[in-house]
Every structure is written in C-alpha cells, then in structure tokens.
C-alpha cells in the first residue's frame, strides 16, 4: 500500500509484528464490505468479532504500562494501528479504546480502572465535549450528551463533566444511562446519552482534568488523521487499479494524460500527508498539541481531496451503495468534520504562529 515505511520511529520489532497481525485481522474479516454488513445488521454498528480479535491480540493494552498489565508500546504503535484499520474502513471502537482510554488510564496511573478496562467484554464509550452539559456531583450527575463515541453497548462511559463547578473527567456505568443511537453519515456507533442523577467515579478534576482533556483531544486527532490517511491511501490504490483496467474510447483510460496528471497530483498530496503523519509521530513528544492540529487539518484536507479525485476517476459506479468508495468517503468526511474542522484548526495554528 505505502511503498516506504515510516523510518526512525521508536516502534519496536514487537510493534511491527503487532501491526502485521492487525492487518491480517483486517483483511481476514472482509474489509471494506464489513462496514456495509455492520451498518445493515449490527445494532451497535460495531464489528464485534473483529473487535474481539483485535482485543485478544492485545491492542487495548498496547500503550498501558506493564505494571497495569499493558504492553508498554509507544503511542505511534496505536496511531499507526488506526491507519491500518482505516485502510479497511473497519468499524471497531479503536480510537476510543486503544488510544484514548488507555492513554488516560496510563496518565492517571489508575491500576484498578486499567484492570477493569482490560477485563471489559465489550468496550468503553468516550465523550470529551460534554463538560458544559453533564453537571452535578459524584453522587448525582445529570445531563445529556450529543454524540458520544462508541457509547452504545459500552460497559463504561468516560465523560467530560462539571463536578461541583470544576471541570472533570468521570467514569459512569453505562447501564445507569439512557441512550439512543445517533448516527452520522458514516453510520458508526455514536449516541445521545442521558444521565439522571447517576453515580460516577471522578477520575480527575480541575486544571489537571483540563490538561488531560487537551492531551486526549490531541492523541485522538492523531488517530483520526491516521485513519483518514489509511482511507485516502486505500481509495487512491482503488483508483489507480481502475485507471489501469477500465477501457473507454478503445483505450485504457489510464493512458489519457488528463487523468494521468490528476492522479500524479493526488499522489504528490498523499506523499505530503504521509510525511506529515510520520513527522508528527517523530515530533509528537515535542509539541503534541501543535503536531496533532497540523496533522488533522492537513491530512484531513488531503484525504478529502484524494477521495474526491478517486471518486471522479471511477465515474458512475462510485455513486452506488454496493461499491466501497462511498463508505470511505462518508467516513473521511465525518472524521474531518469532528474533533476540530480544518478551518478551526487552521485558525488556531495561525494564531499560535503569531499571525
């Protein structure tokens, strides 16, 4: 798929073989059509047996410390995992459960919660955007969220909330909540969650909670960017295959210079996206927040462009639901629009850079 690897990352040999198994799981479970099947047949919009295989391989434990039963892998392992799953448009709660929750539990050094998390039979849901609407005390938390990721079917929910007037991250037993599926165009697991005076565990509050929310936003942006990159790479490879086989006017359409040049330009953009992903992981430790904004804004732009070009190359067939490109398009657009849009992130970057 990508001709050149991402060199010089601290990813170990274990990490590399880890990734290989993930790719095998992805391909063995029927990517990309799995997304269509899950959309039509699964109540929670999650490919549960694929998710089980991923969990069994240890991905939820990947970035947790060894002391908490984790594998102590560097962050880039799970970020590149998100890219590998993006290639197959696999509907599993990966970013929430292999990136965000373990990142939080590791930062909190919360052994007990880590143990409960690793023993989870399904998954945990996460929402960082509801601090203004989920309000109360640890004994009585009330409010409604809008689009909580992977909440349907979850065992626990990790939510931003306002506790006694302070910003906090809390853990709520998902059975204590009322929820309703709220699908966006990508038809993944998002829900409106309603809490009515429920009990919660306050994981962290005050300034430290604010810092951790920012950190989780950053790592989830990296994961979103990686997933979009994987999808852009997949769509481009489908497009190139199509250009090499489709015939019109008595010729393979890939011989037409108008199409060759557009494909070459899309390729250049994709090279830049791979470069940004790679350097964001290299630079991640230095300024994670900025690297993640840059990564999501620019890879989002490029992924949308590459998807649009891949669509146009395919012509009418791309518009059909039975063809896979539409699934990639919808997922890329939704990821691009959530968790910081291109223009929002661009605006913040310009301010950060002094203009």
């Amino acid at each position: 798929m990508n001709d050149l690897a991402f060199p010089n990352l601290s990813q170990s040999e274990d990490g590399a073989s880890f990734m290989e198994v993930l790719s095998r799981i992805r391909d063995g479970h029927g990517a990309i059509s799995l997304q269509r099947k899950v959309r039509d047949e699964s109540a929670h919009r999650i490919a549960t047996s694929t998710w089980e295989a991923i969990r069994e391989q240890g991905w939820t434990a990947a970035i947790l410390p060894e002391a908490h039963g984790g594998l102590d892998q560097p962050l880039e392992t799970v970020i590149l995992g998100a890219r590998a799953l993006g290639v197959g448009c696999i509907p599993v709660p990966f970013t929430t459960n292999c990136v965000m929750v373990p990142r939080l539990l590791a930062a909190l050094d919360h052994g007990e919660a880590s143990e409960a998390f690793l023993a989870t039979g399904s998954w945990w849901g996460v929402d960082l955007t509801c601090a203004d609407s989920i309000i109360g005390t640890c004994d009585a938390l009330t409010g409604t969220t809008r689009l909580s990721a992977d909440a349907m079917g979850a065992e626990q929910l990790v939510l931003a909330a306002t506790i006694n007037g302070n910003i906090a991250l809390v853990m709520v037993d998902a059975n204590a909540a009322d929820m309703e599926l709220r699908e966006l165009a990508d038809r993944r697991n998002r829900a409106q969650v309603r809490l009515d005076a429920v009990q919660c565990e306050v994981l962290v509050e005050g300034a430290r909670a604010g810092e951790l929310i920012a950190d989780l936003e950053a790592v989830s942006r990296l994961a979103d960017a990686a997933e979009m990159l994987g999808m852009a790479e997949m769509s481009f490879s489908m497009a190139i295959d199509y250009l090499k086989t489709r015939r019109q006017f008595g010729a393979i359409i890939g011989t037409f210079q108008a199409l060759q040049h557009r494909a070459a330009r899309a390729f250049c953009e994709l090279e830049c996206a791979r470069g940004i992903m790679w350097s964001s992981l290299l630079d991640g430790a230095r300024d994670l927040d900025e690297a993640a904004m840059l990564c999501k804004a620019e890879i989002g732009r490029i992924a949308c462009h590459v998807l649009a070009e891949s669509f146009q190359f395919h012509g009418g067939i791309a518009m059909t639901d039975e063809f896979d490109l539409g699934l990639l398009l919808k997922r890329v657009r939704v990821l691009d629009a959530l968790n910081g849009t291109q223009s929002e992130l661009q605006n913040r970057l310009a301010a950060r850079w002094g203009y």
Binding site: L4, A5, F6, P7, N8, I240, L243, K244, A251, I252, G254, T255, F256, Q257, L259, Q260, H261, A263, A264, R265, F267, C268, E271, C272, A273, R274, G275, I276, W278, S279, L294, A297, E298, R301, I302, Q346, L349, A350, A351, W353, G354, Y355
Partner: protein
Amino acid sequence: MTDETLRAEMRAYIEAHCPASLRTPMLTYEDRAYGGTKSTMNADQRAWLSAMADRGWTAPTWPKEYGGGGLSDRETGILREEMARIQARPPLEEYGLSMLGPALLKHGTEEQKREHLPKIVRGERRWCQGYSEPGAGSDLASLSTAARIDGEDFIVDGTKIWTSHAHRADWIFCLVRTDKDAPKHKGISVLLIDLTSPGVSVRPIQLISGHGHFCETRFEDVRVPKGNLLGPLNDGWEIAKFILVQERQMYGDHAKRGVEAKSLGQLAADTLPRDEHGRLKDPMLRADILRLELRTKGFEAARARLRAAGGAAGMAPFLKLYGTELNKERQDILMQIGGPASYGWDGPAFDDGQVVKNWLRSRGNSIEGGTSEIQLNLLAQRVLKLPKDKRE
C-alpha cells in the same frame, strides 16, 4: 569517531571559519558563491569556500581521493545541521557540484575524475549544462547538435539554449547527437567541452525579470578531444537522465530556501496591520498564508521522510514539481504582502526591484529542468505505473 565527536569538531571548524557576513539569508543571485574563473566573489566568500574545500565539505559525500569529504549520508546530515545552526550559506553552488560531479563519479574514467572533480570541489572550474535546444525543449531527446569523429577529436556543430550561467562558466557538459540514423534516444552522447575552445560563442538572453544569466551557446566546428566523452558513445541518454535526476533534486530545494528564510506568516506579522487579537487584518490573505505554510510543512516532512527512508531517486519528479510550485506560490504571496510597492522596478526606494524580479524569475521554476507537465508524466508512468499512450 562518534557522531557527537564529529558534530563537535564540525561545529568548531564552521564557527572558526564562516565569516559573519555569510551567516545571513541569501537574497539575490549575487549573494551566492558560484566559483569558477569568471565569477565575482568577495573576500569573505573566497575565504569560506577555501576553508570548506580544504576539508572537502563543499562536496561532503565525494571520496577523499578526489578532494571530497568522504562523509556518509548520516555524517553529511550532521554537517548540514551544523551549518543550518548558524545559518551558514553554502560555500559553493554550482552545476559541476550538483549535477555533473555525481555523473562523473558514476560514469567517468579515472583520468576524467582526477582532472575535473578536485577543481569542482575547490570552485576553480565552473560548469554549465548544455541540454535544451531551440527545437528540443520538453522533447529533449529530439536534440540535433551534432558531434562527428575526426581523427582524435569530435567536431561539434549546433546551438544550445537556456545554458544557465554559460557566460560565467568555464566548461559545459553537453548532450550531442553522435549517430543521426539511430532512434532518437539512441545515438546521443555526453561531451565535456572547454568553453574557451575556438568556435564556441555565448550570448546572454535577457529574461522578463531583467536577469541575464540564461544564455544561448553556439558551436561552430568546435574540436573536442575524444577523451572528453563521458560514458559510452551513442549511449549517453541514461547519463543525461541521471543528471536530470540530480537537477530535479536540486530544484526541490527551492521550497526549502523559503523555509530557511523567515516564514511567510512571520514576515506578514512584522509588516502588515493586525487586529486586537494579533491576527492579520486581512482575513483572506491570512488564510492564504496559513494554507501555503501548511503545504510547505507537508512538503518538507515528505522530503525528510524520503531522506530518512534511504534516498528518493525515483521521487525526484515529485520534489521538482512540488518544490518549484510551492516557490511560485510563495513568491505570489510575497507580492501580496508587499502590496503595490512590491511592483517597484528599481532604485533604493524599491530595494532595486528585488521582490518583483524574484517573482518574475520564479515563473520559470516550473518550466526549467523539465516542466511540471513532464514531471507529472514521469510520476504517472514511472511511479504510478499508469500505461503510456502511443505517442512518440
């Protein structure tokens, strides 16, 4: 020697020898050090060139026996970092160094290497490139400058165009047709020609920017010793392409020049009105600047990844295409930041017209060294492996 010892040693040497006047961004062509017998270089430039050439660091990766630095790519990276640390200008920028040298190392005879490489390293002999002809632009292989054998010499007849800096160069590496009956990619050879040879004439061509370093170079019955043939007779096209790859990598640096100087955003912030939040007052220009900065960062990251992955020879068309187009866009934005004054043509009030002249000159970036369209063809056919159409 460990990397850290090497770094410390390089740092000390560069600190000791790089004159303060050469630790500033290069703004004009005159700021660059071209070497050769006809170029003008000031005393600081000469001293810096000489100090770096003493260590072979003008050509850090070339073998020591030919005057180079004998450094690995990693060690060269350390040298570049150390130079960048104090913003040291390159001690020498010249086509023998960037284009011909690598081809000589790969295809030259021992005698040719000993004759030419040390002089290139020391900046004693400046080279220019004889590729395009009035009738052979993008279709380079249709060139018709002819070289026929006569005893111990070739006799060369024809005209080369866009021979950059030929009027300041000492020698030219030249594509010539040595078999006019062969298919067009066959029958081409590479000749190394002394520009002082009888029958060579060079005429500078005035560009829209006022720059006059592009030339037309004519050959009328020019005698060139057979020993100046680089590589095999009639089989020079492969070498020609190899040199083009070097050239395209060099053009990819255009965008980098921009990064080394002040960022566009910083430049705009320093010169344009801002609102109470510190944002540029013109929101459209601010957005244009930010988007170009993001793309520039993306391109820089892509270059760095390709380098780290161990070379990017096949990706030269990407570097050339993207680097030059980014530079054109950067020049466009510089004109917007400068406003109407950036159109000033000359005189101290307009900084001698630098801004508009650089902008005008940059229009050629996506034409010279293979047009953007040629790079797109190469990417489509060589990298993406899309099928070629039937046209010759």
